[in-house]
């Protein structure tokens, strides 16, 4: 008997799921269900110990309704009352349907968990578009919790274990996968960058982006932006968006240029180690979220700033 069932679509998701279960006292007995193929499952089992798989499910992952049905069967077979899965798009989509089948409550995008009164699992997640953090508890016998990737410590490897094939029915689906193709995307992943220089609507001339690029090069950073810079002005690709509808970033340094600090943006940058903001408005919301603030008009200071930073120290 185990409290937790961790469900992973990809091997890379396993360490954090087990780590998250570990913070709540779930140890080696945490059941692991792996949805990848046979060979990938064997490789995962060599590092993460005994795991379960549902034969054939790896070819059906696009049909989230069927997958949720099979996961519900697995949850019942393994008697694990708390299902943990990654809060990826796939994970979130599956979580809702799984919870509905199981009569369970579900919480998604959970970035922290702890035990509360009577051992209840208290989940922390952003609410009101990122303006606030809600602490929530699920009151149903079975709980489905989707964990925000990158928010939990990875568990150490558990050593090799066997692959157990679960015989649970995989419901017939009606979603046909015609084609899967890698997303055409930027080669730069701003979520992994150590330093970001982000622009907002306060940067009002497109030609000034060249100066921002020079500044970014000088500090060793990547360029990022708030949502409207990419979606409305289309000055930068959407992969560069920081925030609720973009990436959640944790750089050592974030330089924010002309960003007012709406909550939909700040949720993606508040975990940066150091935040430096340049803005004309000293009452902008971003000021209270910054370690350093510089009040200035970007048009006026960018040429000189880029020049001075280019010149190097001394």
């Amino acid at each position: 008997m185990t409290e937790f069932l961790a469900v992973a679509w990809k091997a890379g998701e396993v360490p954090e799921l087990l780590g998250a279960a570990g913070t709540l006292g779930g140890g080696d007995e945490t059941a692991l269900l792996f949805l990848g193929g046979d060979e990938e499952a064997r490789q995962a089992a060599a590092r993460w110990g005994a795991l379960h798989r549902i034969p054939g499910i790896e070819t059906r992952l696009a049909d989230t309704g069927s997958v949720a049905g099979a996961l519900a069967g697995a949850q019942k077979a393994l008697f694990a009352p708390v299902v943990l899965l990654p809060s990826t798009r796939r994970g979130k989509e599956t979580a809702g349907r799984l919870a509905q089948i199981l009569g369970a409550g579900v919480l998604t995008d959970v970035h922290r968990m702890e035990r509360g009164e009577g051992g209840a699992i208290c989940c922390h997640r952003y609410a009101l578009g990122g303006a606030a953090v809600s602490v929530q508890r699920i009151g149903t016998a079975v709980q489905v919790i989707a964990l925000d990737p990158g928010s939990f410590e990875a568990a150490p490897e558990r050593g090799p274990g066997p692959v157990n094939e679960l015989s649970v029915p995989l419901p017939e689906g009606s979603v046909v996968l015609r084609e899967a193709r890698p997303r055409v995307r930027d080669t730069v992943d701003i979520a992994a960058a150590d330093c970001l220089v982000a622009v907002g609507l306060g940067l009002d001339r497109k030609e000034d982006l060249a100066l921002v690029e020079r500044l970014a090069r000088a500090v060793g950073g990547e360029i990022a932006c708030s949502k409207p810079v990419a979606t409305d002005r289309k000055w930068l690709p959407e992969d560069r968006i920081i925030g609720l509808s973009g990436k959640k970033c944790r750089p050592a340094l974030a330089v924010l240029l002309g960003i007012s600090g709406q909550v939909q943006f700040t949720v993606g940058i508040r975990d940066a180690k150091t935040i430096l903001s340049v803005n004309t408005d000293e009452n902008a919301a971003i000021m209270t979220l910054s370690d350093y603030v510089f009040i200035a008009d970007l048009r006026e200071i960018l040429p000189e700033l880029a020049g001075k930073m280019d010149a190097g120290p001394g």
Partner: protein, 252 residues
């Protein structure tokens, strides 16, 4: 094609203020969720291509008539408003039961559309729950929908890949905001919207029982502590010095 679009009334996030770290929601106007408006826009496009019909579904505890007018002006043909005190702060399960009952009430639909998440809570689970209750296939995070004969060709956008799916209606999808840019209704459309029918029903009238919530309890909702000092940089020279000091690579 008969299309239902579920649109969530949400507080205008730009008008929420914090007092002692607590959000102040009184007097904050209720608006249509931003992503839901994109869902309506693709619905209008599909309606025009298939001489279809669009019903907007809204569930909430307040007055929904004013909020739904914008959706009716933006191309929906009618609205079913599910208003009930029990929907105040409802969890995704109760909202899903309410919306599923609404879909059954309006009769067979081919396509049921949602935003990928509400702009306020963003749990992204209601579409999946409704699909399960209605027993229909689903796809989340949809970036495009094309009608090909009797089949819907759907592009689902995941973090690392895109999937092209073939799904026969009826089906439910949640869409990304990028699927279509929502229109700003013209004055004529706004005037015409006044004549479009909007029915109001309670949960009891829809037969949604009291046991339909899934018991998610909120312990607290507070603005996060920032703990940042907001140190003012006095000059450009000082800005350059700070950037060099804080840059992880030492700033060139």
């Amino acid at each position: 094609m008969r299309i239902a679009v579920a649109m969530k009334p949400v507080p205008d996030l730009l008008q929420i203020r914090m007092k002692d770290r607590r959000p102040v929601l009184e007097d904050v106007p209720v608006v249509l969720g931003a992503i839901d408006r994109s869902a309506l826009e693709i619905a209008v496009e599909l309606k025009e291509k298939t001489s279809g019909h669009i019903v907007v579904l809204m569930a909430g505890d307040g007055r929904l008539e004013d909020t739904v007018k914008e959706a009716l002006a933006a191309g929906a043909d009618e609205a079913l408003l599910i208003r009930d005190a029990r929907l105040n702060g409802a969890d995704g399960s109760l909202s899903a039961h309410a919306l599923a009952a609404g879909v059954r009430k309006i009769g067979p639909v081919d396509l049921l559309l949602f935003g990928e998440g509400s702009t306020d809570n963003y749990s992204g689970q209601v579409m999946s729950r409704v699909s399960e209750i209605l027993g229909i296939p689903q796809a989340g995070y949809v970036r495009d929908i094309v009608v090909e004969g009797e089949t819907l060709i759907v592009t689902r956008s995941l973090e690392d890949e895109e999937e092209i799916l073939e799904i026969r209606p009826p089906a439910a999808f949640s869409v990304l905001s990028e699927i279509r840019e929502p229109r700003i209704p013209s004055v004529t459309a706004i005037l015409k919207a006044r004549k479009k029918p909007a029915t109001v029903l309670s949960l009891d009238e829809l037969g949604v029982g009291t046991g339909s919530g899934a018991g998610v309890e909120t312990v607290s909702t507070l603005a996060p502590m920032t703990g940042r000092k907001g140190e003012r940089i006095p000059s450009l020279e000082e800005l350059v010095r700070v950037l060099r000091k804080e840059a992880p690579g030492g700033g060139a």
